[in-house]
Symmetry: C2
Subunit: 308 residues, 2 copies
């Protein structure tokens, strides 16, 4: 388990770098460090509130160790005595409804029996979906995936569609992205390749967001967009508290509550039987909150549909 | 299972009566009916938005039937082929931070093997705890309990303390109340007694709330109280989405999402590492969000402590 100490150092370094890029894109907000130490391990949450563009954002690093319980054995189908895990996870909530919510996570999990794996992903949740941004986002992720393994993007994209889904609302959380878990080093991908893949994701994440902050951070918006943003944030809260495995596992295993729930927005709202105005941006967005949208070929397909 | 049809009619009648009392206490808001029919059964949600005192309130009635699955068998330790269940549940969120959030639920569950039981409760979640109101609330509940069974209050009060608890925050949802489940008719309490107990609870519920609406509905408040109210509502959302068994069971069993999540407030907020001003009402409230406060003897004890 020597390797994991090195990975933890690498991830912790990436966390700081990421926050530097986000701070300079924001121009006002500063990340404040909160370190924590519990029986399970330790971590550092870098939290930004009331920035110019980021309203509430967290970049969490943690490094935990513990007994590999019989519940974990059952859940993961592995036999071991102890586990160690390290990772970075981040969620950023913007002020402006035109800037999407973004989420990123990379993590490494190691057992004392020698088995280890990587997991993570990046997904985008626009309050108002602008198809060209979803297309560009998926192209960017595909490029990063292809550098490591040409099979990754398709598999991880579908995985994200399935994972970031609210069955009780029959809608996806946003336009998806990539999600992967328990990818073990082996014949197909070496440990170095997989580690570099997670480093690439953590490196591209603040760049992707800085671009969207720059594009929409000062776009004018009205009460209508703001109201809609808060309703969409309500759905984000529903996903995180009802379904997100990281959140539930974290709370159940005695993780640091403030860091785990740092993913929640500053404000959220709920309305009874909301129904969007026909043809408005709200309805357009709801129509695109679906699994299995092929964002890579979305423009071609739309052009083909129009030219018919 | 003939009886359950009658109980459903009784509960449905109580739902309407309850809404009448709440509407006249509000003086402006009107409950709007939304009926639903799904594979699992049917129901009626009476929903009020933007009242003078109630900002968002729901009184739901439902009557569902289904196969008694092996998962339910395991969970409930009963063998049966089919179940039927009917109940009313209500949550009311006020505009004014001085008016508490309130919740009530009564339900009857019957199996086709002849076994049946009642469940339910009422609990109060003040944004700002005023001890004398918590004391009066618990006295009122104790009186109702004592009319049916002198053992009920103590058992059901402790049950509520355990149930309405957020372990990840180490705090109770509010000042508690009573909670009970799987109380079967038998030697100790006849079917009629238990049914009447649930009818009494559903009848006293709008009266208790009308009193609090009247007492605090027009009390002046500042931005500080409103901000605190939204943070407390955030905790209410956390409880309902992470722990509430009714919510989780409802969403998992394919219930009506809009009715189930009608419990969520119009707005809620979250802040990083909130710490209350020493001596303020926020800190006073946090100090009282604890299990095992003996609200019935609270005044005596406080007086005794002061006179020492």
């Amino acid at each position: 388990m020597r390797k994991i100490d090195e990975i933890a150092r690498t991830y912790s370094g990436l966390q700081k770098k990421m926050c530097g890029i986000l701070e300079s894109a924001d121009g006002k907000g500063k990340f404040v460090s909160h370190t924590w130490k519990k029986a399970i391990g330790s971590g550092e949450s870098l939290l930004l509130e009331n920035g110019k563009i980021i309203e509430k954002g967290a970049v969490n690093f943690s490094f935990v160790k513990g007994k590999f319980s019989s519940k974990m054995e059952q859940l993961l189908g592995e036999k071991a005595s102890e586990y160690a895990a390290t990772g970075i996870s981040s969620i950023l909530h913007p002020v402006n409804p035109w800037v999407p919510i973004i989420h990123m996570n990379v993590r490494y999990f190691a057992l004392d029996n020698g088995v280890s794996w990587f997991g993570g992903g990046i997904d985008l949740t626009p309050h108002i979906i602008v198809p060209e941004d979803a297309v560009a986002f998926h192209h960017r992720l595909k490029t990063i995936c292809d550098q490591t393994d040409p099979e990754f993007y398709e598999v991880f994209k579908n995985w994200a569609d399935d994972y970031f889904y609210l069955p009780h609302r029959s809608e996806t959380r946003g336009v998806g992205g990539i999600f992967f878990d328990r990818i073990k080093p082996g014949r197909q991908n070496s440990f170095e390749n997989l580690l570099n893949f997670t480093i690439n994701l953590a490196s591209v994440y603040p760049e992707i967001y800085a671009h969207l902050m720059h594009k929409y951070g000062t776009k004018p918006f009205s009460e209508r967009e703001k109201k809609w943003q808060n309703l969409r944030r309500g759905r984000y809260v529903e996903f995180n508290l009802i379904y997100d495995r990281g959140t539930r596992f974290g709370l159940e295993s005695g993780g640091n509550t403030e860091s785990i729930l740092a993913s929640l927005p500053a404000d959220a709202s709920w309305a009874y039987h909301y129904s969007p105005e026909p043809g408005g941006f709200e309805e357009q967005t709801l129509l695109l909150l679906k699994k299995d949208i092929d964002w890579i070929r979305f423009e071609e397909k739309n052009r083909a549909a129009i030219s018919k």
